[in-house]
Symmetry: C2
Subunit: 144 residues, 2 copies
Amino acid sequence: MQSFKHKLKTPFLATDGIIKIYTKEEKLKGIVLIQRKNPPLGFALPGGFVDVGEKVEEALKREMKEEVNLEVSIEKLLGVYSDPKRDKRFHCVSCVYICKAYDDPIAADDAKSAHIYSLNEIPFDKLTFDHEEIIKDFLKDEGL
Amino acid sequence: MQSFKHKLKTPFLATDGIIKIYTKEEKLKGIVLIQRKNPPLGFALPGGFVDVGEKVEEALKREMKEEVNLEVSIEKLLGVYSDPKRDKRFHCVSCVYICKAYDDPIAADDAKSAHIYSLNEIPFDKLTFDHEEIIKDFLKDEGL
């Protein structure tokens, strides 16, 4: 079995979160975007790689905690984004989840800064990877 | 960048299809299950690994053609299944799609046989991996 495993090459697996930030009165303030510390630079959804031995949903919650210090609850899977050209470094497939939190993000790890953007203030022209496409899919999913 | 890539370990990425087979009159006959030729033995949804450089949806269509000789159209993503214990061989994450076809399956590749099972005749106790959970999620999604 080991030899079979070693013959396989597989894309890298990542997960990104569209974190909807709500007030205590359940009013939507916006979603979280980070400014990346490491290349590729630019604005992006918070996210990261899935570890071996970790469920994708666990990886998402870990990354949201590590990168923007938020405890999120997952609402739904938005989609799987797998275009080999979506990440210029290597083939990386991302499972994107819509999730929810109530606090303000605090940047750490890969994030130089992290802020809440209302849905009509998304800086689409500054987004890296395929995050413009992902956020447009999210807005469509929200009926916007 | 290369050194960063080499430090990463990542789960294997696979894709499985719930192929709904319809008559020309658009009547649902059932879904396709295979009997596996290789371990783990048992009944399973058709599926396989995603290659580097290939979109997950392309991998799905390729695998459905290779394993059960069907040209499928994708209806929707059902879910991402990533429990590290779902495959006893290694950590393997599967993106599962609901799809549609009109012909009869013909077994090849990893499949010893392939048949259409009506939705009330699924052999749940003979399914391998977490395909029992996946098919139950599918039935729920169909409102059954």
